[in-house]
């Protein structure tokens, strides 16, 4: 059964209309002991179906552990949003509710490949010399 109704699909199609550069959604799942892994894969596939420039690749966290490690995936379900390169953007947990909006925005952002940040922010970020991990915790509502 479809997770997204026609109204939402239409909105997603409109939101992704400007996505010109290809984006790949790499979904990491697991067969057992993973809440929402199946739903995450289905949801991501339904979103990708709304744009000709968004594709999905599905990996098993255990069987494809090398791929998971190469994307630094440490828990599932996970979605890596990858454009012409891997920018390091990950969603953990089913991208529903607040994260659904984030998924759509991330696809647009990664496709454009530009951060759209303030000049002073860009200048500050350019001073970084070591890797930084930012984690944003959210809930579905």
């Amino acid at each position: 059964m479809a997770l997204l109704n026609e109204k939402i699909r239409k909105e997603v199609r409109a939101a992704l209309a400007d996505v010109k550069q290809p984006v790949t959604l790499k979904v990491f799942t697991q067969t057992f002991e993973c809440d929402y892994c199946k739903e995450t894969r289905e949801l991501v596939e339904e979103v990708a179906a709304q744009s000709p420039n968004v594709s999905v690749e599905v990996y098993d966290f255990i069987e494809d552990s090398k791929v998971a490690a190469s994307y630094a995936i440490d828990k599932v379900p996970a979605v890596a949003i990858v454009g012409k390169k891997d920018y390091g953007i990950r969603l953990y947990g089913i991208p529903a509710g607040y994260e659904f909006g984030a998924l759509i925005e991330d696809i647009k952002l990664v496709s454009a490949g530009d951060s759209a940040l303030l000049p002073e922010t860009r200048a500050m970020v350019a001073k970084l010399t070591k890797p930084i991990r930012i984690q944003v915790f959210s809930t579905p509502t």
């Binding site: 953990y92 951060s115 890797p131 930012i134 984690q135 809930t139």
Partner: protein
């Protein structure tokens, strides 16, 4: 979204969004009481969705370390 924009801007930045009800152990570890809660480099904690200059004021502390 700011976190993800920062990841686009710099190859040194990775940005995770974590649905905390599915990973309650992380919610406990990072003492998530309200959302969104942003954790930068394990040490800097920011409550709520803050404007870009505010976030960057906190971010500056990472550069000082």
């Amino acid at each position: 979204m700011l976190a993800h924009q920062l990841a686009i801007e710099s190859d040194l930045i990775t940005a995770d969004m974590v649905e905390v009800t599915e990973f309650p152990h992380l919610g406990q570890k990072y003492e998530v009481m309200g959302v969104p809660r942003t954790v930068i480099d394990e040490t800097i904690h920011i409550e709520g969705a803050v404007p870009e200059p505010w976030l960057m004021k906190e971010f500056a502390k990472v550069l000082e370390k």
